[in-house]
């Protein structure tokens, strides 16, 4: 039975939103719609979790958010630009305003930790000496100061995840999207990374985190966009005993 559909969820003033979806639908090829009538808006400086079971459409929703795909129908407004009407040559500038933590990290294997994290700053045309200083500081902060020249394949899963997070936040993006960013680290590091996201959020970055970690979600208490069967629905009540 399909989950009850929430009314068009407006989590902010759509006119001044960082990101706004209007009746967005998405299907792959001729398959069924994996997202249906998704509508919401994120105000600048907001912090949201995206929850939902596997296959609910979280990854597709995130891919639409970071412009990896165009929706099959509906409108996506990013930083005030209707993405469908924005000239293609201007999209890279919009993408550089977004930091993404991919679930599979997507680190570049032949580059060092330092070069992986420096990539967004280099794409933005930063000065090499400043890039080097910022990257070293951030890597030290996430506990990887001793692994500056390490290749991703020599790092543990948790270390790779921290590199991926450092890369996503190094350019202080306006919008940070993270897919299960604490999935491979212990609780202590998970809290540390969450505090990094919160700190960025306080500095003005809009944060969206897709997560299954209900205790973490409850602990921080930010609004939740819950996906079920490709639609945003009212979040289910917490399961007893989750609060640990």
């Amino acid at each position: 039975m399909p989950a009850p559909t929430a009314p068009a969820l407006s989590v902010g003033d759509g006119a001044h939103s960082v990101l706004r979806f209007e009746n967005v639908g998405m299907r792959y090829g001729t398959g069924p719609e994996v997202l249906r009538d998704v509508s919401f808006a994120l105000t600048p400086g907001s912090f949201h979790f995206i929850t939902g079971a596997s296959g609910a459409g979280k990854s597709t929703l995130l891919r639409l958010m970071y412009l990896a795909q165009r929706p099959t129908r509906g409108l996506v407004h990013l930083f005030g630009h209707d993405v469908a009407l924005t000239p293609r040559r201007r999209l890279p500038a919009l993408r550089r305003m977004i930091g993404v933590v991919f679930q599979d990290f997507r680190l570049i294997d032949h580059l060092s930790t330092l070069d992986n994290v420096a990539l967004p700053l280099r794409l933005s045309g930063g000065r090499p000496d400043e890039i080097d200083r910022h990257v070293r500081e951030l890597l030290a902060w996430v506990g990887l100061g001793d692994h500056l020249n390490a290749r991703p394949e020599t790092l543990s899963g948790g270390q790779q995840q921290r590199v991926a997070i450092a890369r996503a936040v190094i350019a202080r993006p306006n919008l940070l999207l993270a897919d299960e960013p604490t999935g491979n680290v212990d609780d202590r590091m998970a809290m540390r990374l969450m505090h990094l996201f919160v700190e960025l959020n306080r500095m003005g970055t809009t944060v969206v985190i897709a997560s299954h970690n209900e205790p973490l979600i409850r602990r921080f208490g930010f609004p939740v966009l819950h996906l079920a069967h490709g639609q945003i629905v009212a979040a289910p009540p917490p399961v007893d005993g989750d609060a640990s």
Partner: protein, 290 residues
Amino acid sequence: MRRRPDIHFEDDLSSRFLPAIVALMVFLGLLGGAAALAVGGIVATWDTDLVGRLTVQVPDDGAVTAQRLQRVEQILRATPGVAAVRTLTPADTQALVEPWLGKISPEAGLPLPRVVDVELAPGAAIDPGALAARLAGDAPGVVVDDHHDWLGRLVALARTIEAVAVIVLALIASTAVATVVFATRSGLAVHAPTVELLHLMGATDGYVAGQFQRHAMRSGAIGAAIGTLLSLLALAALVAAAWRLEAAFLPLPGIGLRAAVLLAAVPVVAVLIVMVTARATALRALAHLP
């Protein structure tokens, strides 16, 4: 320290062939170009030597030949437009045919004609038919040759060889372009995850295409250097072999400045073709990303 490219091209097997393909392209291009220039040079040398000259052949039939030669020389000197007249000795004539017929002993009885070399005044034009008719009265069987027909056929042959060389060069360039297109597309497929990641992080198409362009430039430069070296060795071997073949039979033109510049441009143009093709191919493919 030079920064590593974001894309690890060493993973890509097709890109490893690029230097070898460019080396082959430059090698063939330089040999073809050198051949075309050499033929052009030889024709130009012959052209310079023979234009403005006539050759008069007087049949050598024994005792009366000296008188006939004297009369022919008088008529030629009296002809308007003739600047100089020189009768070749029998030894000179034998030397002329020696590359084709070998050493000829006087006892062989080969009826070589006596040859009169006529130099025309600058800008002068003489009708060889009319001159032959005037000479025939005093020297029956005389032949006047202004080399026009022979030189015309030679120039036509040279132009054909040059055209073939240009077509071969165009085919080599087309093949190289097709190869670079294939290698770049293959590279884009092999490195699709990294290319997509860069794209999602906000890299412009030009930034990503630039990485393929620089890689193609490096590979092309290595290949061009190898191809140039190999072609220089091959040309040196050919020139040495030609010298052994007697320079009189195959006159070797010196490489002029224009020819040297044209040949030096071959590897540079090859690298430019590779770079531009790689960039254009990458840009075309990247335009399909959202």
